[in-house]
Amino acid sequence: MSIATHDTPGAHSHDDHAHGGHHEIGFVRKYIFSTDHKVIGIQFLITTMLMLMVGGALALGVRWQLAFPWQWMPIAGDLEVFQQQGGIISPEFYTMLFTMHATVMIFLVIIPVLAGAFGNFLIPLQIGADDMAFPTLNMLSYWFMWPAIFCFGISFVIGGVTAGPAAGWTSYPVLSAIISAAPGSGPAQTFWLLAVTFVGVSSMMGSVNYMTTIINMRAPGMTLFRMPMTIWGMFITAILQAFALPVLTAAGFMVLFDRTMGTCFFVPAGLVVNNADPTIGGGQPLLWQHLFWFYSHPAVYIMLLPAMGMVSDILCTFARKPLFGYKPMVYSMSAIAGLGFIVWGHHMFTSGMNPALGMTFMVSTMMIALPSAVKTFNWIGTLWGGHLHFTTPMLNAIAFVSMFIVGGLSGIFMAAVPVDLYIHDTYFIVAHFHYVLFGATLFGVFGAIHFWFPKMFGRMMNDTVGKIHFVLTFIGFNGTFFTMHLLGVAGMPRRLADPYNYPYLEHLLPMNQFMTYSALLMGFAQFLLLGNFFYSMFWGPKCGRNPWHANGLEWDAPSPPPHGNFESIPIVYRGPYEYSSPETDKDYLPQTEYISPRPAPAPSTA
């Protein structure tokens, strides 16, 4: 991570000195409590990659139980704490496994990797700013992740590792609000709620920062409709986060107080939970579901839109083509955001919601498939007639499109309430959201990691290893999750520690075993990514500013960019996707390159 790179012709840069002598700052200020958006972005990236491994390990635990119920666990079974339960996954532990898998993946991997890692790294670079609007706030937003990780960690161990938060990541009261409902997860669930609050604070700080930066700190000439799709994705994500997340934070406080202070927002009176005294209350459990999904449905788009943006960038770069329908892409993204706020009820079709609301939500949910469809068509249009380069980022980006189609189409089944009555809370749902969140988002993220790695570290990642990682992950992913659709149609409910209790599900065991093997394959493939990442960070071949011949502003800065990013303030003359433009001889035309308005294409002299 050397800041002094081989190509810094603009060494006279005033930017360097505008930031108060960054030469003197020590290791701690530079790499740990750094206010530099790039360092913070990389911190987020590495943290989330480690958390990805944690979340993946938890998922493998879940898969183990489904494939080999009540059998001795391969590695964890040897541990002392599991000995007293025979080295197997107990139902309490299983409940905690899937709760924490979802929690870690959503709150500590996908949201921070998109908004935290790539948002931080890319926003100032792609809009031509020298840093975020509020660098200190930015640093705080990273360091507020750690109390969250810490609290999640405590919630793991406080129940003695074999039990923990056990109300699912959705944490529906009354299960999560009354301690006697899940005795094993008493303080664990409380810490879990605290952690979610910290994540909320962290994301809120981040999103205010991103919005301010994108609105107010764009380089000269960078109009809104010249912003790369990544920035649009981040911008809309930040808006969603800023206006939906506080609702969850508030609801989190309410359920936290319900647990600890005797309030009763979500607890009706007169419940006899686990033979304890009848509850005192008057609240309504459905209120939580409304408030929760008011955030958590937009959160699905928070977990998707930035990836959509990054994939658009990658596809254009490696198809050497302008984005097909830039404005429709922006509008459809905005439509997703707008509609995203009014579809939350589709998570509650079976929950005893007023049927009139159910019908309204069904229509709005169906409609949200529309902008997604428009985006998919536009991506295919982007590839149409392109000159494709099948690099690792490109393969991951194509996989994003391919997987997103499946995730989008299976969503239509859920949007249809009558069909949802059958498939709700079955593995069909599990398949659906893994296709969206893993198949789409994570492939997008893998692509983005390979794509922007040269900018982050000034070195290239190994393409062959990247492709092997991609192929293994792709095969493992589809082996695991496509088959889940079939389990869902067969009626296998999710979150069951032992589905084979039910005679009508017994014959699904071999299928589940196949899925577990696929999941193992996928899990181990991730070590390739980690290895490639950390090896290339230090020993990968060095690269110049613009190894992909891409157009974005970030490729105008040195690799890796110094503190302050650009040697001089970039001036933007055009949109980010002018590949194969007839105006120039190269097949790309950076946003900063000035071409005098002449009818004949002129050779550029940048």
């Binding site: 206006f243 609702v247 009176a269 007169g270």
Partner: protein, 140 residues
């Protein structure tokens, strides 16, 4: 004001202060007048919330200088206001109004319905079967 803070012209803040105080007194008077008893709670709520909206608009326009800001204020505040209003409205149809019967110690709509039905049928026929049952149910 001698400086050319063209976007922050001088406002007579004391006058705004006076308005706010008058509005506060007005909402207290609305409470003392007992609109609740005279009309109903909804009328009272409408009156005092309207007053609150006026107060809020004065604070936002003059104290927060929104009156003198550019168009961005609408971009930030309108969607927020819409969302903020949408939540209670959407939730009112599910949490505020119960589509299904409620059975909690404070309120048992199912039981109330049954007792009502029993009363009605008892008016028609004293020896109705429902009547006995309702008495059994109501005796608790």
């Amino acid at each position: 004001m001698t400086e050319e803070h063209h976007d922050h012209p001088h406002v007579n803040y004391w006058r705004i202060f006076g308005y706010l105080c008058i509005f506060t007194v007005a909402s207290v008077i609305a409470d003392v007048m007992d609109i609740r008893r005279l009309y109903n709670l909804t009328a009272l709520a409408a009156v005092v919330l309207l007053i609150a909206c006026f107060k809020a608009s004065y604070v936002m326009r003059y104290f927060m200088h929104l009156k003198f800001e550019g168009g961005w204020k609408y971009i930030i505040l309108l969607p927020t206001t819409v969302l903020a209003l949408a939540i209670p409205f959407a939730l009112a149809s599910d949490i505020g109004i119960h589509y299904y019967d409620v059975d909690v110690p404070q309120q048992n709509t199912l039981l109330e319905k049954e007792m009502q039905a029993a009363d009605e049928s008892a008016d028609h026929d004293q020896h109705d079967h429902d009547h006995d049952a309702a008495e059994d149910g109501g005796g608790h």
